[in-house]
Symmetry: C2
Subunit: 220 residues, 2 copies
């Protein structure tokens, strides 16, 4: 199965601005994307990047990165339109099934990818925390994405309206998209890839506060 991995090259992870500067956000976003590509590359499926601008060389700037796949190891399509339009342009003429897996779910493992692709419904949805859609498998030819607002509900409703079978994947690893600083703790707790290594080498560590463990950055 083709698995599209949309990646915003231009302004990745702006909601992490309170803890990471622009260059750091970019390096961390690349590390997360490489974790996702690495997981897919250990399955029979084929990852393809869908990027907002041509890739520069993706350096091995994460600890251990020299052993992991690089962004430029994968086929790349450039489309500078918003995410929804760019993905739907691919869906228009693609063979089915096709999957879309976000680049910011670094806890994904090969087993997680297989759980997603093994579901047989016409539309398979992995919800993200907060109502987003972190992964889709699309077998229906009419289905189109809409990543605006609470896209998990939008996608379910669309499938149900058209009498298309829909299935939800119950996975914490797929649900954890890293958007906000409080998400970084989960990467340190459960990740063993480049994103977790990048955070550790840039001074992040776990600290318990108010009964929930979060990532905090050591002052340098």
């Amino acid at each position: 199965m083709r698995i599209l991995v949309p990646f915003d090259i231009d302004r990745p992870k702006t909601r992490l601005a309170s803890v990471l500067d622009a260059a750091e956000r970019r390096a961390f976003a690349v590390a997360m994307c490489r974790d996702v590509l690495s997981a897919i590359s250990e399955t029979p499926h084929r990852a393809e990047l869908l990027v907002t601008a041509p890739l520069e060389a993706s350096s091995a700037d994460a600890p251990g990165g020299e052993r992991a796949p690089r962004l430029d190891d994968f086929p790349e399509t450039v489309d500078d339109r918003p995410l929804t339009e760019a993905v739907n342009a691919r869906l228009t003429d693609a063979d089915r099934p096709i999957a879309i897996l976000m680049a910011d779910v670094p806890l994904v493992t090969p087993a997680t990818v297989s759980r997603l692709t093994d579901c047989s419904a016409d539309v398979v949805i992995a919800p993200g925390l907060g109502g987003g859609t972190n992964a889709l498998v699309v077998r229906d030819t009419e289905f189109r994405v809409s990543y605006h607002d609470t896209s998990y509900l939008t996608h379910r409703e669309q499938a149900q309206t058209s009498d298309t079978s829909v299935e939800t994947v119950d996975s914490f690893r797929l649900a954890l998209d890293v958007d906000d600083p409080e998400d970084l703790g989960e990467v340190l707790l459960h990740g063993d890839g480049l994103a977790a290594a990048w955070l550790r080498s840039n001074g992040f560590e776990l600290e318990e506060r108010d009964g929930r463990t979060r990532a905090v950055r050591r002052s340098e």
Copy 2:
């Protein structure tokens, strides 16, 4: 399999105090606990409450509650010690396997319970958001719980130190323990039990803010 469901009768869900008063927190906590008990009761397993004080009659105070199991439908053990001590007292003499499933994971379904109990490792852990432990299956006789600090890591380390096989369940429904106001949105998004119904009937609805959908309370 026996599944212990610890439930804090006395001071449930204090971190929801900014959006729910004490009586509401208690009613909502009861609704969540009944969702958990309801899910277990649709599996072959046997739920048992582990409560901090004797139950008062648990009223059918959630919409649709008259059709769901009530707290007093289940065997109850009262132990007013802190959670770790109370659970370990049960582990000391219990037959194995035994499971412990928290009362504040209202998205749990019968299928989720089965995924947990179907894992065959000596210690099976379902982590919660923020490094907690929302469910355990214990087959090892020496294993003891420690719910302090980042208990997911503590429990994994304990199992690994004693050369006991350990398995982690990758489930969003098990990971979502409701502690903070931002967790309520997930209940409205994915829940179809008493907890979600209680929130709706008490004025909570979904609203998108900053790209993540949250529960907000209509002013009355």
